[in-house]
């Protein structure tokens, strides 16, 4: 594969179009809603075509488009969370949620075992499908915060700002997501 070259105006649109499936998948992973993902991608592509001069082959086209899309996704999340600002109820349940994993002194009732060759799993389609199923099983708001952190790569202050939640609440939800995902993968993949 040759390295990306500066895009000629004539085929810029075609190159951008070719990346649409990737961008749709990227958006859907965060937004969990196909039509919202399509809207975000559409807005990103319009912005990209209007801002073609800014690209000028400076970076990988996919990286550049993903950066634009990320902003559109955050816009969508901001709109959604303004519409449905829920009280911080989910956080209150969290404290007790993983109590069953520990004894009364807070030590493991059943300590996590090492996963064998987890990196090898990353190349397996079935593993990625299992991970996606585990993500879908998370409560919606927990999944949203986790994916903003790990998929969009946002820092916690930015996540807190967009969702109007405290840093502490953010960390509680991220902890909860990681514990739940670990448990889900243990059960559905690594223990099999």
């Amino acid at each position: 594969m040759p390295p990306p070259t500066p895009a000629a105006p004539a085929d810029f649109r075609a190159q951008v179009e070719r990346l649409r499936p990737y961008l749709l998948r990227y958006a859907a992973l965060q937004l969990r809603d196909t039509s919202a993902a399509e809207d975000a991608v559409q807005e990103a592509l319009l912005a990209a075509l209007a801002g073609e001069a800014n690209f000028a082959g400076r970076s990988n086209l996919r990286t550049w488009l993903t950066g634009i899309l990320k902003h559109k996704i955050v816009d969508t999340i901001r709109r959604q969370s303004r519409e449905q600002r829920a009280p911080e109820l989910e956080a209150d349940r969290d404290a007790a949620e993983f109590d069953g994993l520990f004894d009364s002194r807070g030590h493991w009732a059943e300590a996590p075992e090492a996963w064998e060759q987890p990196e090898g799993s990353l190349r397996q389609k079935q593993f990625l499908a299992a991970l996606e199923a585990c993500l879908r099983a998370l409560p919606e708001r927990t999944a949203r915060v986790f994916m903003m952190r790990e998929h969009l790569g946002l820092e916690t202050p930015e996540i807190c700002k967009e969702l109007g939640i405290s840093a502490t609440h953010c960390w509680v939800m991220l902890h909860r997501a990681r514990m739940a995902l670990r448990l889900c993968l243990q059960t559905n993949w690594f223990a099999k």
Binding site: M1, P2, P3, P4, R18, L19, Y22, R25, Y26, L29, N60, R62, T63, T66, F98, L101, F102, R105, G106, H107, W108, A111, P112, E113, A114, W115, P118, E119, S121, L122, F127, L128, L131, E132, M147, R149, E150, H151, E155, T156, A167, C170, W171, L174, H175, R178, M179, L181, R182, L185
Partner: protein
């Protein structure tokens, strides 16, 4: 010095992925991890989760031409 339970350790390990931990927290974690297999495994699994999510969108190889 602060002695951590496993439960507290899981919380700090998670926060270590999201914020800079204070010196005292890092020391307490290191002491706990030195003696606790389960929490060491959990720590590796948290880090693996980060890699795995990047792989979902194909971001793991974002710098290679598509």
């Amino acid at each position: 010095m602060m002695l951590l339970s496993c439960k507290e350790t899981t919380r700090l390990l998670s926060q270590g992925e999201d914020r800079g931990l204070a010196f005292g927290e890092r020391v307490a974690l290191r002491v706990h991890l030195a003696i606790c297999n389960g929490c060491r495994n959990l720590n590796a699994q948290f880090k693996f989760l980060r890699l795995a999510v990047k792989q979902l969108s194909g971001d793991g190889d974002a710098d290679k031409p598509a």
